[in-house]
Amino acid sequence: MIFLAFRYLLERRKQTIFTLLGVFLGTMTYVGVSGFFLGFQNYMVQQLIDNSAQIHIQARQDVLTEHGLDEAFYKHAYVQWVSPPSGLLGYLEVQDPQAWYQRLRADQRVRAFSPLISAPVLFTLAKNSVSAVLTGCDPLQQAQVTSIAKSMVDGKFSDIAGGGNRVIMGDELMKRIGAAKDQVVLVSIGGRDSTPMKVVGRFISGNRGSDLQAYAALNDVQRMNGTPNRVTEIAVRLKDYSQAGSIAQDWSRISPEKVESWDQQNVNILSVIKMQTTLRFTMIFAILLVAGFGIYNVLNMTVTQKRQDIAILRSMGYDTFDIVTLFFTQGVMVGAVGGVCGLLSGYLLCRYLQTISFFPPNSSHAGETLHISLDWAIYLQASMLALVAASIASILPARAAGKLTPIEIIRAGA
């Protein structure tokens, strides 16, 4: 029956081609759109993972509740406060960072870590003053945890190593303060005396908020802040970022610190990615539904046109299964051929999209092209969707054909 199905398709070339086009376009669109969206999502996630630590270990500060201090003052008693306590409960720095360093060095899942101290500061140059965050770090360790070193457009990130009151600024911060490389700016923390710091580098991360920050050596900032050997955060990079959530949860249970993974910190962005995935599937479902209807309509017409063939085939001894196979095969063949053509075209479309430049020439990503995913799973899903759509669209007319009896057809024709 497959040979006869193939003949039927060849004989109605125009109809077959138009039906095939529906599946072809649907499949090609799925591959192209999925490649684009997934490539973008992967790029976004990679940016989140690279630009920031995968796990942040920070000093915990919780808002004080009305009965938050009851146990500290009056054990096992219910306290009715005349004036309930308020404010923040916690610490400003990470408690016992040395214990954390030992734990992190021993953990096989950790690739690198970087202790940090961040403080709100005031940068002053001539008459310009700008509030920003100054982060102290070991540049060699920090470069292993985030991609900050790759964002440098002037100087090297390692130029702040060893201290010496040197600072690297984000591009946005430098513009606001009006500074240039090798100039000296005054930095003051918490009303203390200003410290002159030489600007030795500039970075552009692509994120305006991040580009308002500055980095200096860990010991320089600790000294300026009056908190020697203290850190406010430990940034961690893992060997497998997908484990960040579960590891962060484990570490939260065993320490007073606030431990957050990158996905917990970027819930909004990740929910946008989920929405994109839903949108992608909805769009493709709609396209393939239309293609499926095309197959269904054409096959229905074919069954009506081929009633006499069905009658004579039945009289020759072909049973219901043979008749169902005859029409079902036609739909599946169209789905398969349209699907294969769609996959190839989709692949070529993705390859073309990969050549399109996306970033402005003056950005740190200048020269990079669109990130398009060529993941094999997209192609597998596209093939399955095409076949499933074609199969579902074909089975109803095929079953209707199978139910026709020769006597009904012969009497109608007589």
Partner: protein, 229 residues
């Protein structure tokens, strides 16, 4: 005995209309029987009931000892493929297949194409279609198409040939040619032929005629005796 109908009746439609009533007959192996009667007498219906294309409302039909009503579906289809051939008024050739491919269609069911292809070619040659085996139905005349249909009906060397007004769409010359082929199939291959026709001349080519009037068998000649015609 080859085909036996016992008290067969057929009622169709809503409100029900009786087409056949209390038909009992026997057809022997190798017999050529014609079913005749006016339009609406039930002859085609009787043919379809005897050939398993339709099921009786009452009674039973036996072929080669098998009760058609009790046969399993798979069994019945196989029986139809191997033991039966059909020729209708409209040839019902498949337009997408050539003459030879149409003839060989029944052989595909049991994967006997290569085995029976030479026989199919010889049938078409015998029917004067040697040069037209690769032609499509639209490239053949009405008479040629009907000859292809008869070749298709005979390709599996069936025991039974059921023909429903095979000359109905043909001119007298082609009609005579088709009837000659059917008669030779009966004589040469001992195929049991049941022919429905309203043409008296063609009906008389059969060894026995069963006349139907208003869904009942009219009184007629005695059942077949070998060599009676």
């Amino acid at each position: 005995m080859s085909i036996e109908a016992k008290n067969v009746g057929k009622v169709v439609g809503d409100p029900p209309v009786r087409i056949l009533a209390n038909i009992s007959l026997m057809i022997e192996d190798g017999e050529f029987v014609s079913l005749t009667g006016k339009s609406g007498s039930g002859k085609s219906t009787l043919l379809y009931l005897l050939s398993s294309l339709d099921t009786p409302s009452e009674g039973s039909v036996h072929i080669s000892g098998n009760d058609l009503g009790r046969m399993k579906s798979e069994e019945l289809y196989r029986f139809r493929n191997v033991e039966m051939g059909f020729v209708f008024q409209f040839n019902y050739l498949i337009a997408e297949l050539s003459a030879l491919e149409n003839v060989l269609m029944p052989t595909l069911k049991l994967h006997r194409k290569s085995e029976l292809k030479p026989f199919g070619e010889s049938l078409l040659e015998k029917f004067g279609l040697k040069e037209k085996m690769d032609r499509f139905p639209r490239q053949l005349s009405g008479g040629e198409q009907q000859r292809v249909a008869i070749a298709r009906a005979l390709i599996m060397k069936p025991k039974y040939l059921f023909a429903d007004e095979p000359t109905g769409s043909l001119d007298s010359t082609n009609g005579a040619l088709v009837m000659e082929i059917i008669k030779r199939a009966n004589q040469d291959q001992k195929t049991t032929v049941i022919l429905v026709t309203h043409d008296e001349d063609f009906a008389n080519l059969a060894q026995r005629t069963i006349r139907l009037i208003d869904g009942k068998i009219a009184a007629g000649p005695e059942p077949f005796e070998q060599g009676s015609r």
